[in-house]
């Protein structure tokens, strides 16, 4: 029904081939741009790390990858990036889900205020956010001053430790997380929740048996998006993170800029890309699986 309705609305009674061409023309520009600005550089980067200039001209070599995976420092950077990404994803869910639940089900006037506060970081540039965090929880920051004023010892500052980027990234990604989770919760009707209360489920059981099972999709989407962003993040780890080990973003920049080593920088980029591709494929796969189970 819908299949036939849409093309006929555009193409009238033209033959199918003509209509197909018209459709292709409509998407030609975006497809071309994607090919030119995204697909081509990816392939070029992959090829240039595998076919390198040697004394006997260009030849196939996996040396740069072998170096990456045998070099303890590179592996530590990758591990730190994965650790930060995973931890941030878990923390974002733990922090974002209660906020989203509150925003979805609260009828109080404070909901609007909470919403504005939760969305606020979205409009703060990362660099400003970084300095704000340094001023607050950095050495001799606001927190230390306050603690000092009431006679307590200073905190061990997370600034320049792996926890620095974690705190910054969670804060920075919270708005998107909350927005996506709230949107997911929107599909759960009030009466579905009330019906569960009615048959005897308390708030925790409602969450566990009614809300969570229907949140699967939006949690997956949320995690995929935040994980992709955090894995390749730059500013926050660069400013807040430790010098060694460092996350892949700063690592790439330093390899390229300070060490003048484009081959290894590109290798690091390809490896980061493969990880992100893996997350992306997982996302697409889970969405497709969910859609299939819904139209079963």
């Amino acid at each position: 029904m819908a299949d036939t309705a849409i093309p006929s609305a555009i193409g009238g009674s033209e033959p199918a081939i003509g209509r197909g061409l018209k459709g292709l023309l409509l998407v030609a520009i975006p497809v071309f741009l994607v090919g030119w600005l995204i697909i081509y550089p990816i392939i070029a980067a992959i090829l240039s790390t595998l076919f390198v200039d040697g004394p006997q001209g260009v030849h196939f070599s996996t040396a740069s990858y072998q170096f990456f995976f045998s070099d303890p420092y590179s592996r530590a950077n990758l591990a730190l990036t994965l650790w930060t990404t995973g931890l941030c994803a878990v923390l974002l869910l733990l922090v974002g889900l209660p906020i989203a639940l509150y925003l979805r089900f609260s009828t109080s006037r404070f909901a609007d205020l909470v919403q504005s506060l939760a969305i606020f970081p979205m409009f703060v540039p990362s660099i400003i956010l970084s300095y704000a965090l340094i001023r607050t929880i950095g050495p001799n920051g606001t927190l230390d001053i306050l603690l000092n004023a009431i006679g307590l010892p200073k905190i061990p500052s997370p600034y320049l430790t792996p926890w620095g980027p974690v705190i910054g990234l969670v804060w920075d990604n919270l708005p998107l997380t909350v927005l996506m989770l709230t949107a997911g919760l929107g599909s759960i009707s009030n009466s579905a929740v009330e019906a569960a209360r009615d048959v005897g489920a308390g708030p925790i059981r409602v969450f566990w048996h009614i809300i969570l099972p229907r949140m699967g999709n939006s949690i997956l989407v949320t995690i995929s998006f935040t994980v992709l962003g955090i894995f390749s993040s730059f500013t926050l780890p660069y400013v807040l993170g430790p010098a060694s080990p460092e996350m892949m973003g700063p690592f790439m920049l330093r390899t390229f800029n300070d060490l003048y080593d484009p081959l290894n920088a590109k290798t690091q980029a390809v490896i980061s890309f493969v990880f992100c591709l893996f997350f992306g494929l997982f996302y697409v796969w889970s969405i497709a699986r969910n859609q299939r189970s819904q139209t079963r």
Binding site: S191, E194, A195, R197, G200, A201
Partner: protein
């Protein structure tokens, strides 16, 4: 087996008064319909009984026990919502079994109870279906089974069939009535459709602006409406506004001797109590339209002041558009400030209590 008592219930939403001093007693096994226009506070009352809204003041008692402060999961009530209340990630069986599982019943007993509940609502063997594989009517049956399987003391239904088509609605409400009588379960049914209320209820409570206008058996509500609002809300009703002077309701086209004090008032006459007689010359009211319903003809007439009235006449007599006619009321009620002043039948004593009980004027 339970008795529901509501005392002086009030609910304010910010500055809106949703329910205002509402009291009601529902006897064991009784089916009471809350009937009223949209926004009259029906759902709010039901939701306060179910525990989904906190009353601003007043008491709700079930078998004498005050449940007003209990959360919904602790109340012996079962609610069927208008729609979208099934859990789409569970199949039909699990939807119904959920409440029983929360009560940690043995597996075999859950299976037996769920199957019995499905049989009860006419969906035997549908347990393995997904909820989105059901039609709207079947979904509401599952919702009903889900509530009934827990054997609540009070069953609450909030316009459960409002989103279904007419035929299905009629069939389902008969089934609900059957089930309710078989189980003898005390039931409160919210509807804005008078047909539904008249067909289902042991007693109808007519609501308006959060207040009870009248609570009576369907036939009493229909024949003896205590307020002008109820008279107009249930069934079809003609209203004619004029003055009472010297014991007579005086309108150029309809004068009725009436035992009421002088002053402005509204005369109410049901179409079936309003007869038409052909008038000679240019006198009388004008026939605007006549609609043949087979068993009777509904004739619309226009008064000289522009008021439109409906008269139900016998199919034996044809009324052409433009014809002049004289109005012959056989039963009436007189309202002033929404309150009933007097009712009676023409030609009989005005003290006669029954309104509309007169035979069709043919």
């Amino acid at each position: 087996m339970a008795r529901l008592t509501i005392e002086s219930l009030r609910k304010f939403f910010a500055s809106t008064v949703a329910v205002d001093d509402f009291s009601l007693d529902v006897a064991d096994g009784e089916l009471v319909c809350l009937l009223g226009p949209s926004g009259s506070g029906k759902s709010t009352i039901l939701r306060m009984i179910g525990g989904f809204e906190q009353p601003t003041s007043g008491a709700i008692r079930i078998d004498g026990q005050d449940v007003g402060r209990l959360s919904p999961d602790r109340r012996p009530t079962g609610m069927v919502f208008q729609s979208h209340a099934l859990w789409s990630h569970m199949n039909v069986f699990n939807n119904i079994a959920f409440g029983l599982k929360l009560r940690h019943l043995p597996r075999a007993e859950i299976r037996r109870k769920v199957e019995a509940a499905l049989e009860l609502v006419g969906l035997g063997g549908y347990g393995h279906r997904q909820t989105f594989q059901l039609s709207g009517g079947q979904q509401q049956r599952v919702a009903l089974a889900r509530s009934l399987v827990l054997e609540p003391k009070i069953l609450l239904l909030d316009e459960p069939f409002a989103s279904l088509d007419q035929h299905l609605r009629e069939r389902l409400r008969e089934e609900v009535r059957d089930i309710q009588q078989r189980l003898g379960i005390t039931t409160l049914f919210v509807t804005h459709g008078q047909d539904e209320a008249l067909a289902l209820a042991d007693r109808i409570v007519v609501l308006r602006n959060g207040q009870c206008e009248q609570a009576d058996a369907p036939d009493v509500i229909y024949r003896n409406p205590q307020t002008q609002f109820v008279a107009g809300f249930i069934g079809q009703m003609n209203f004619i506004a004029a003055n009472v002077e010297g014991g007579t309701f005086r309108h150029p086209e309809m004068s009725v001797a009436i035992g009421a004090q002088d002053g402005p008032a509204v005369l109410a006459v049901r179409p079936e109590a309003l007869g038409l007689v052909a008038a000679e010359g240019g006198a009388g009211v004008t026939v605007v339209r006549s609609t043949d319903f087979g068993s009777h003809i509904m004739v619309d007439v226009e008064l000289s002041d522009g008021t439109r009235l409906k008269a139900m006449t016998s199919p034996a007599m044809r009324w052409e558009r433009g014809t002049r006619a004289r109005l012959v009321p056989s039963a009436y009620a007189l309202y002033r400030d929404n309150k009933l002043v007097v009712s009676g039948t023409v030609g009989a004593s005005t003290a006669a209590p029954a309104f509309g009980a007169a035979p069709l004027v043919v």
